[in-house]
Symmetry: C2
Subunit: 203 residues, 2 copies
Amino acid sequence: MAVMNEPLGLRARKKLQTRQRIETAAFELFERDGFDGTTTEAIAAGADIAPRTFFYYFPTKEDVVLADYADRLNRIVEQLRERPHTEHPWAALRASFLVVAADYDTEREQLTRRFRIMATTPSVYARNLQLQAGWEDALAAALAERMGCDPENLGPRLLASSALSAMRSSQRRWIATGQQTPLPALVQHCFDQLDTGLADIDP
Amino acid sequence: MAVMNEPLGLRARKKLQTRQRIETAAFELFERDGFDGTTTEAIAAGADIAPRTFFYYFPTKEDVVLADYADRLNRIVEQLRERPHTEHPWAALRASFLVVAADYDTEREQLTRRFRIMATTPSVYARNLQLQAGWEDALAAALAERMGCDPENLGPRLLASSALSAMRSSQRRWIATGQQTPLPALVQHCFDQLDTGLADIDP
DNA sequence: TGCAATATTGCAGTGACTGCGATATTATGA
DNA sequence: TCATAATATCGCAGTCACTGCAATATTGCA
């Protein structure tokens, strides 16, 4: 299940390259003409592939923007699975999110670009929420397993949903303030609030 | 700003009628052919209007399913605005949501139909999330006002986001259990959890 | 080298959604 | 009551994301 990053034959390497070319071309065009002003056809042309091939790599134009953001969330689920079962579910969630949030700082420019498009393009934000909904399911399932209950119970759902809320709120703040405060600190703060209870919020 | 339900000239009345006809026709077709299997053209035909006219009433096919669900959320924002400013923000949120959740029980069948489509059709669920994001903004703004701070602060955002999470979790559970437990009770329970803090969750 | 697996492409199509301009219908004020 | 403004309805032509299918090229492997 884990990532294998050793052999990687010619085929796989080429595929990654193409994928990368698509992303590069896409972001260039997004920058110039805006997300909505860019057609998948134009992206394909910029990446030197046939229009049809674009959809072999990305199911949606929106997914180009959200691509790597996606496996980031996958990593969170992995983290959660590896956490000791003795840990309290909420604590495990918190820790998992923090681990992943930590490397947000390393890829600032790339992330900022993606977030900026997401923040200004409704369809991209919508797609983002849709993907997160999928991960909410995954998180809820993982939590249910460690809690020994049905994934449809309120407990795991609310935990997963709240964690993602915390993450989104943090991200938004992060962007709004021009990445002043490091992301992990914001995430931590949100988790703290949910930990103590929202009745404890300041004013 | 409040609803005016007195005069309502011929024009407005006819418009409401047409809107209603569209919804009726649409749900009939959704039932028969599924959401994705139904074209806006077919809906228009069923409602005795021109294909073009459909988009004069609904910006999106998805919005037919989510229509009345929309003004329900508007009511929550109104409620929040009318709450005494001395009340703690989280308490005000809780109260506002509960007021509106209360009448979920009255329109069971209609709501269940809508939820069921939403639960099984990704594009509809996505649109739902997108609309909720808009209301999250509205809620955050209202909260910021009463808290006397910037709407972009973490506080109001996290509060609004968490409240909506609670709502979604409750709805999901409500549907999953075949509407056994009344919705308000579920909502209340979720708000309780967030109130006390998620660290307090059972196992 | 030959065969299986997979990647790339072209083509033709579907269907949601838009802009525009024409026309019908209702509201309003003189 | 009638002219006029406002708004609703509609047709048309077009754009664009996305799909299924079948042909072809490329790569992995025995």
